[in-house]
């Protein structure tokens, strides 16, 4: 092969379905589209095996095949002549392909139907450019390709690690990293979700670039790209989401026609309404899932292989930094003077007469509604209710993290309660939905409940 497989990196993204040519032992050819061709090494590729079909039958009879691939950056076509080697149902190649396919399936309510049965490994016998599919004009291609050079990547990571090092709080750390992703890499839409209070859930704690910040939004394991990344603890990159979803939706239609399985309702995409490219990396420390960092773009094939490597590396730093910061803030809170809260002055109650909010707590659902609209649930809801009722009863408006920890009624887990993270989440949710009620940090392990409007409290049985 004079042309190296590495040169086809962009073509291995599944943005444009490939065509697989096979032939039966009787010499009857077959032509079919396949969703993914994956780079394995300089001499091998893997093809997605999702359904038992004629191509698969032919390969069992005759291991020779040909594949046409299109580079999504330039539209250059390539012809690969292949020889079947084996089918992998586990291992890194299978897992990489399966995750991407499952992420698409999750969006389309196709779990169990649109799945990878095996990664079929083929030796690449020859590789050439197809004369009928030459590359587009360079000026058009350049707009789409923004692959970073190694020096840029090193500097970018250096910048981000400096942000990690200099952050003074969890909030600063998260915001600074998301800002850095935009300023350094140009990734304008990003979010960080941390492990939720309930098992197998993640909660949005920080985001950038979205009209709705979405603090408090929950994602279950296995749902969408974030849930898939969390479940598998492996990064997922999707190059052309709409394109891949079209393929999956074609499958969905066929499955419905075949009456094969009831199709679950489609899960709404978090974040962008129409993301084209997504990249999610798990934040893991010593086997523990801390959260997920997810980046989106409306541009097809926005995130290249180099980006995935860089963001994965950033994820490693970030996971450690978040965990350290959580431990640090907890230790800080424990050290903070408890007395300051006890001696705190009475609430100045500078409520604006014109505004009054009806705050309702539903203990059974552990949920707070403000003026009839959902605000927050679980531990942050219990905390807010505790703060508001204490303020109303005692006139207190300053609190310590320590007293919350000692309050049995809040039912904090004894081990890793992540109280500081939940307070941050509550603060952000209030900023978004009810800025008249604020949680204002007051130094180490202390904060104030600031209320600049009238508030009526109702607890529903």
């Amino acid at each position: 092969m004079s042309l190296g497989l590495e040169a086809l990196a962009s073509s291995f993204q599944g943005l444009i379905p490939a065509v697989l040519f096979t032939a039966s032992r009787e010499g009857i050819p077959n032509a079919a589209y396949i969703s993914h061709v994956e780079y394995v090494d300089s001499a091998h590729v893997a093809l997605s095996f999702q359904f038992f079909n004629k191509s698969r039958k032919n390969i069992a009879e005759n291991p020779q095949a040909a594949v046409h691939l299109i580079d999504p950056d330039t539209q250059q076509g390539y012809v690969l002549h292949l020889r079947y080697v084996r089918s992998d149902t586990s291992g890194p190649v299978f897992e990489r392909m399966a995750l991407r396919i499952e992420a698409i399936a999750s969006y389309c309510g196709l779990k169990g139907i649109f799945k990878l049965l095996a990664a079929d490994i083929y030796e690449v016998v020859s590789l050439e450019k197809s004369a009928e599919e030459p590359a587009c004009d360079e000026t058009l291609a350049v707009v789409r390709r923004q692959a970073a050079d190694p020096l840029f990547t090193m500097k970018a990571l250096q910048d981000l690690s400096e942000r990690v090092r200099s952050a003074g709080s969890l909030e600063q750390l998260l915001d600074s990293i998301l800002a850095g992703l935009e300023e350094v890499f140009g990734f304008t839409h990003s979010m960080i979700l941390l492990a939720g209070e309930e098992p197998n859930t993640l909660v949005m704690i920080a985001s950038r670039g979205y009209p709705e910040a979405g603090a408090g939004a929950e994602v279950r394991m296995g749902e969408g790209i974030v849930g898939m990344v969390a479940e598998a603890r492996k990064p997922i990159r999707i190059a052309g989401l709409i394109r891949e979803m079209l393929y999956a939706l074609a499958v969905r239609k066929r499955a419905q026609e075949a009456g094969q399985q009831r199709i679950d309702a489609r899960i709404a995409l978090p974040g962008m309404a129409n993301p084209e490219s997504q990249l999610g990396v798990p934040l893991v420390v010593r086997g523990e899932l801390i959260g997920v960092l997810c980046i989106e773009s409306e541009i097809q094939y926005r995130f290249h292989e180099e980006d995935k490597t860089s963001i994965e590396m950033l994820g490693t730093y970030l996971a450690l930094a978040i965990q350290n910061m959580q431990l640090h803030e907890r230790a800080d809170a424990a050290d903070a003077a408890e007395a300051s809260a006890a001696a705190a002055p009475a609430d100045t109650r500078r409520e604006a007469a014109a505004t009054a909010h009806a705050v309702a707590f539903y203990p059974k659902e552990e949920c707070i509604m403000v003026d009839g609209e959902y605000l927050i649930r679980s531990l942050p809801a219990r905390i807010l209710w505790k703060l508001l009722t204490t303020r109303e009863r005692d006139g207190r408006h300053e609190f310590t993290n320590r007293e919350l920890r000692l309050d049995k009624s809040l039912n904090l887990p004894e081990w890793k309660d992540n109280l500081e993270t939940r307070l941050l989440l509550l603060r952000r949710r209030l900023e978004q939905k009810c800025p008249d009620i604020r949680i204002a940090p007051r130094g180490r392990g202390r904060f104030a409940l600031e209320v600049s409007a009238g508030v009526t409290l109702t607890e529903h049985a």
């Binding site: 040519f21 004629k54 004009d137």
Partner: protein, 152 residues
Amino acid sequence: MISPEVAAFLEAGQSIYIGTCDRALRPEGARAIAATVDEGRASLTLYVPQVAVHRVLPNLEATGQAAVVFARPSDDHAYQVKGTFMSARPAEARERAVVEAQWKGFQQNLDIIGVSHRLVERWPHWPCMAVRLQVTALFNQTPGPGAGASVA
């Protein structure tokens, strides 16, 4: 053999590939630009760019067997036609308008899915070889569990 509905789909400007193999069962394929279903709907003519026809024509002449997949990029709806080779000749000037119209249809389909048609402007779509195939079978090739089902 081919229903009027399927014929209309095949002639609407889809992404088309023809698959063949040589006597040693080595598969080989090429992109085609357009197709017309012949009168009687038992055969069709495929327009393969001259620059690519060398990959499939020797195989067609040697084995006589072909598989052609037609896919609509906007929803991946697809059919596969199996056929036997009848003849090949340079496409005539009078056929160019049909080829151009289907090529435009394909480009419009790309625009729908967000791939600018300008990116394929350089793909040669004329001159073509007109490859005539006798249709022996037709399959629904839309991806999914039922892909490959025969279409009556």
